[in-house]
Subunit: 377 residues, 2 copies
């Protein structure tokens, strides 16, 4: 029965039934984005909203409309088949996932927004959403990447919070979408700012027996892990291409984790060491440095002795997917250079200088033979 | 010119030349053990003693004498060729490495002892050394493994300290001996108890441009990392054998690192979180879970659905080398069981139960779907 009236009581939205009794307003989830990871997120969430009384069953998924080779619209096919045939073929999302090509319509009743688009689209999407969403919406960002400006990194969660005036958590981790889609065991980390109850609701909304989510009070730490690991993956790929072996690769990954931690803590004093032991930290770093496209392209770059550019190899190897590590390395370098910190971050610095061809791929190991002048740990 | 007299002045051994002037007594290094890793350690040290004024050039290496198929004695061949033809063929150890088959003779003038034998021989070796070494010898253990007794782990460094009445540091890290032998970049961690100056001398003695050593004040943490990682490597190998993919493997490694940390801190309250970010922690874990014999045999065990025992697969796959993970898992299980902590350590517990055939290999992932009842982090 639809509630006749709504009112805000504390932080709990309470509604009245037509007979005058109170009932708890159920949250409505909209997933903004429908790529590979967005579709898996919708599947995870949709399996939980069916079981949780505090959520409406329906999960709305905003889909950037495309016309498929068959001439059909992607949203129609998703709604008919419960499959995102283009970005997650073969996986049923759940009958309660509704694809919606209209962004305004997709968000208008939502009380819970899950952002999972490529990061370069977020600024435009936020602008379109201003004034279109409910005022007390809770948001979470699954987007890895950031805008680094001279004054420091501008995190996607901050962009969402600032532009829309809403609270925004993040979810990151060792999450190869296709493995989670087939329900292989995995973990993830929710980063929250202050409200632990909100974080626990996100944990509830995403957790399944095969997908275990833990909340930590460290939005920036969690989000920076998801971003900076791609720079380390470039370094790991270079080591693979140079055929330096397991010791060297593990050492480079460890130094990378140290620089991730040091950089994050210098940027945001609230960042906690313990975050780097979570899925978003060490586990995601391992996954990304063992598989992943940044590693793959960097390996090819080193094998070619740096003679073919990252752009060229990216186009050849990734079929249109884009590398994040190279641009993140550039952005991080700009911050370090601006603040006079280059020598404190030999790995980040060296990765960028290799990417732009200033020094050869072998420098990734040569650098390591000189300790940073400032202790980072 | 040999010093005529010796006297102890503070912590510095000072000697007098025959003309009555003082000179600093140079340290004499003996490496106890000459396997694969022992030979590489001798090579590292020998390259440094040539350059450091505070050490005698000569590095004595105690070799358990063997007669080679050629009929020659191993020590003679090492001293003639500067190569350990049996355990590190093709690598020159340095002309200043002297192989010595006589343990008493090898240690009698040593002021610095480096222990690097299989751990099961250490109790006997310590007994043989009582009364044979100089009183103020400084020792370091490179031995991974421990004796776990009901009252807790008995670390090798403690065994050495207690039996010989000397200070003992440890050196651990992501150190595949053959990769260091060919001078590929690597790192290691020295754990020390109190005396930072002694630790810095060990760092000096081992460090080379391709082998970077850092000291941390946490003997037990460093040593337990070197031991417990083998249990996690069994878990990682099982995941490989079950073909669960990168997310799952990274998650299992992360959970393993968490249990290593929690177990170490429960055993020794002095253990520091930061130790697990060092080479001995996360880097050695990565190396061991990616390569290594524990991983390899566990993978085969899972592929065979647990139908062939670890003993059988070990004999088949390792040509006489022994697994440490299975016995360490058993020892850790005994401690956990004795203290009522099994539920706090689901990964360690499950690994042991799989190894002994009590539950199937697939349980390594099923377990993970139940969170530990006690928060470990």
């Amino acid at each position: 029965m639809a509630p006749a009236q709504e009112q805000l009581e504390g932080e709990q939205i309470v509604a009245q039934n037509e007979d005058g009794t109170n009932c708890i307003e159920r949250s409505r989830v909209t997933v903004i984005g429908s790529g590979n990871w967005g579709s898996v997120a919708a599947k995870l969430i949709a399996s939980n909203t069916l079981m949780l009384d505090s959520f409406h069953d329906e999960v709305r998924m905003w889909v950037y409309e495309e016309v498929l080779p068959s001439g059909e619209k992607l949203t129609n096919v998703i709604n008919q088949t419960n499959e995102n045939v283009k970005y997650l073929p073969g996986i049923k999302l759940g009958k309660n996932v509704v694809a919606d090509p209209d962004l305004d319509n997709a968000v208008k009743n939502a009380t819970v927004l899950v952002f999972v688009t490529p990061h370069q689209f977020m600024e435009g999407i936020c602008q379109r959403l201003v004034g279109k969403i409910k005022p007390d919406v809770e948001a979470i960002s699954l987007i890895k990447g950031m805008e680094v400006k001279m004054e420091g990194p501008c995190m996607i969660s901050s962009l969402i919070s600032d532009q829309l005036g809403i609270n925004c958590c993040v979810l990151m981790g060792a999450n190869i979408a296709n493995e989670i889609a087939v329900e292989k065991f995995s973990e993830a980390t929710v980063g929250f700012r202050e409200n632990k109850e909100v974080a626990e609701r996100w944990v509830q909304l995403f957790s399944t027996p095969y997908f275990q989510v833990t909340a930590v009070q460290d939005v920036e730490g969690v989000e920076l892990c998801g971003t900076l690991k791609n720079v380390v993956a470039i370094a790991a790929g270079l080591v693979d291409g140079l055929e330096m072996g397991n010791n060297t690769k593990a050492a480079i990954m460890r130094i990378g984790l140290r620089e991730m931690r040091a950089f994050s803590k210098l940027m945001f004093s609230s960042v906690r060491d313990s975050t780097f032991f979570e899925s978003c930290g060490v586990a995601d770093l391992i996954t990304t440095c063992m598989g992943g496209r940044n590693r793959k392209v960097a390996e090819a770059f080193a094998k070619n002795g740096g003679k073919r550019s990252f752009d060229e190899l990216e186009a050849e190897l990734l079929q249109g997917q884009k590398l994040q590590g190279v641009s993140t390395a550039k952005e991080v370098y700009a911050v370090l250079s601006n603040r006079g910190w280059l020598e404190m971050f030999p790995l980040f610095t060296t990765v960028h200088e290799i990417c732009v061809g200033r020094i050869p791929p072998t420098a990734i190991v040569e650098y390591s033979e000189h300790k940073p002048k400032c202790c980072l740990t």
